[in-house]
Symmetry: C2
Subunit: 224 residues, 2 copies
């Protein structure tokens, strides 16, 4: 498999083309740093965009939810979709209003989803999701029952037609504006985790502070 | 104007209806806590979802960008759109795999955009955007020139058909599972701002630490 994604009509970035990337490694790196994607599909009355958590496994993004979910039903039916992940990395303050910007990394995937059908495959998909979002939990929680697995619809979105885009670093001002005595720079933004809030009904044998090592920025599992 | 949004075919939440909200105040509160929306529209080859920064002003979301932007061009042409804002508030760890979840707040807006045409209105829209994302900057930076204003396409998305959805608080486990000696609770997530990174070409009269009070979580401008 090529390490570079093909450039198609849909993935060709026309403006700011220098910010686009088609390397699978770059696409995977961004996907592995995010938690929530926005899924777009055509509903009965026009486009619909809904958020959902995801995990990347190999060359696919996997999302899941209730088998009664309208969105997952549409995806399972094989509708055209767009799956977008955005990481907001900073606010960019320039010397002119015009050149203010934001630093970000994003991935946009086009295609159709495939239903993950076999119970073993569903199990493995959920395990991968847990390893990403809730590391250390899969091994200690009550595993899914057959009924729960049946009530869960899992779809796989192949990363075949996709593009990464990013803006990094300092503001870029018009040359004349560098003479202005106006502060300029970047305010970095990150997602951080606050202190764990233990459930009020913890089992008496479990200490409130005994929570697992949880997801937090920078502790991204190695790319699979 | 009613304080409650009408429930339409598109905004009626069928599953987990208890998480939905149609109060304008709730929709505005969530929009005012976010920085980036995901805009969905139908491109030439299917649905497209792209991120962009926004500001809410009154009963509308305003986005802007280059007048050569393909997405803004489609929106300016009056295509059906979906504008979604998602705030990821926490990871929810239950005693069973099945009941793991995420805490979030989201707003989904359906409709069509209107172009902000008059130079005065464009100016005011950009000022509102700055007040939200870059407080204190509009007053000190070089203002937009006529040419820059002309190169900026601004659209207004009316908040007429919209719904808020949220999950809050502790995990909800099956009653039997509360007997399991498994830690359960919530890991709160927030966006935080790191130390400002001053541009390398700051004017000699400007100190690197002399940056403005910047956007950070909790310093949300009062609802307009």
């Amino acid at each position: 498999m090529s390490t570079t994604l093909p450039i198609t009509d849909r993935t060709r970035v026309r403006r700011r083309a220098e910010r686009a990337g088609y390397e699978r490694a770059e696409v995977h790196e961004i996907l592995d740093a995010g938690l929530v994607c926005h899924l777009g599909f055509l509903g009965g009355h026009g486009p619909v965009v809904l958020p959902t958590a995801y995990v990347r496994v190999g060359d696919a993004v996997i999302v899941h939810g209730s088998s009664r979910s309208g969105m997952l039903g549409a995806l399972a039916d094989g509708c055209e979709l767009c799956c977008t992940v955005t990481l907001l990395d900073g606010l960019v303050l320039a010397r002119s209003a015009f050149h203010h910007s934001v630093n970000y990394r994003s991935v946009v995937i086009f295609g159709r989803a495939e239903v993950v059908q076999a119970p073993h495959d569903k199990h493995e998909a959920l395990r991968a999701f847990f390893t990403r979002l809730y590391p250390g939990r899969w091994e200690v929680v009550r595993p899914p029952t057959d009924a729960e697995l049946k009530a869960t619809l899992i779809v796989r979105i192949p990363i075949e037609e996709a593009v990464a885009k990013r803006r990094l670093g300092a503001p870029v001002d018009d040359e004349d504006d560098y003479a202005l005595p106006v502060w300029a720079g970047v305010f970095p933004l990150t997602i951080t985790r606050g202190d764990a809030v233990a459930d009020e009904r913890l089992h008496p044998d479990v200490a409130a502070g005994e929570h697992p090592p949880a997801w937090c920025p920078g502790t991204i599992p190695a790319a699979r």
